[in-house]
């Protein structure tokens, strides 16, 4: 056996191992052709092509949540967004309903709280609870995780848009570059938005890809 033949055999063996279960018959078909190839170099090129095809099938069959690190990172981010929503809902409801007798600790926010309707923190509370539920669904790799993340995310974005659209709330001014210590501070909300969109995309991709066998 020449060096090329040995290398071709090893590559084909690797291609068969890399190919997902549902493509094993096709990997076998590619491998069976090797014996019919007269030239060693051609066989090597064929084997490389087989490995390329197997890698392509493997990547296509993989789901983002197959990796525990991806799953944990997604869940952690969604949990952070949930905590943020719940904290906002808690503070606002506390103020609106007068639940606490202690003085409100953030006097600068009182103008905003004054014009905020009661349904705003209630909807935020529901969105926060849904996001917490989404964390469990992400860990359990349920297809409902996409809806559990996307729906409250859209609700939170709409609520934010409504808050911004009220000139008396001064939210727009507080977001403008003039009020930022550094213009780069706006990177964080933009990054947060992008991360959540990416998580929704990954969960959608998860739903599109059949579960590995």
């Amino acid at each position: 056996m020449t060096r090329y033949q040995y290398l071709s055999r090893q590559l084909i063996r690797l291609a068969m191992r890399v190919a997902p279960c549902e493509r094993q018959a096709w990997a076998q078909a590619m491998s069976a052709e090797m014996d019919a190839i007269p030239s060693d170099l051609e066989a090597l090129s064929w084997a490389l092509g087989c490995l390329q095809a197997s890698c392509h099938w493997r990547l296509k069959s993989m789901r983002p949540t197959d990796f525990w690190l991806v799953r944990w990172s997604m869940a952690l981010w969604v949990a952070l967004v949930a905590c943020d929503a719940l904290a906002y809902a808690g503070f606002t409801l506390n103020y609106k309903l007068g639940l606490s007798t202690a003085q409100y600790p953030y006097p600068l926010n009182i103008r905003l709280l004054g014009v905020t309707p009661l349904w705003d923190p209630i909807l935020t509370l529901i969105a926060g609870v849904m996001l917490l539920l989404a964390v469990i669904l992400i860990f359990r790799r349920k297809s409902a995780a996409l809806a559990a993340v996307a729906t409250p995310f859209v609700v939170l974005l709409l609520l934010f848009a409504i808050r911004v659209s009220r000139p008396e709330s001064h939210v727009m001014q507080s977001l403008s570059a003039m009020y930022q210590e550094s213009p780069f501070e706006m990177i964080w909300p933009a990054a947060g938005f992008t991360i959540t969109i990416l998580i929704c995309f990954a969960l959608w991709r998860d739903r599109q890809t059949p579960a590995p066998r």
């Binding site: 493509r23 018959a25 096709w26 076998q28 078909a29 590619m30 491998s31 069976a32 052709e33 014996d35 019919a36 190839i37 090129s45 064929w46 490389l48 092509g49 087989c50 490995l51 390329q52 095809a53 392509h56 099938w57």
Partner: protein, 105 residues
């Protein structure tokens, strides 16, 4: 009648190779030689055509004993109709269908 779907030049080359001998079962290596397609391009295309119900495949015992059986392919009836139509459209548009040269995209 046209299917409305646009196929890549590689797929057209494969369809043209398959339609040349519509009743004959062809091996992957033969198709690769006939079309100039590498195995890494050819097999994903064969799978796609097979998934769309345009291609039939089966295992055929090797001519020489001791060799593994080989996978062979031929177009289904709907595959033949589509291939004829696509090859005709490509010919009418002036591009024609020819084997892919090495390094050509």
């Amino acid at each position: 009648m046209t299917s409305g779907r646009k196929y890549s030049r590689q797929t057209l080359a494969l369809l043209a190779a398959l339609i040349q001998q519509p009743r004959t079962w062809q091996h992957g290596y033969e198709l690769s030689k006939g079309t100039g397609l590498k195995s890494g391009t050819l097999y994903p295309m064969l799978i796609r055509l097979s998934d769309q119900g345009l291609l039939d495949s089966r295992w055929k015992d090797a001519e020489r004993p001791g060799r593994p059986p080989r996978h062979v392919y031929r177009l289904t009836a709907s595959g033949m109709a589509l291939a004829r139509e696509q090859v005709r459209v490509a010919a009418e548009s002036g591009f024609g269908v020819r084997p892919i040269k090495v390094g050509e995209r």
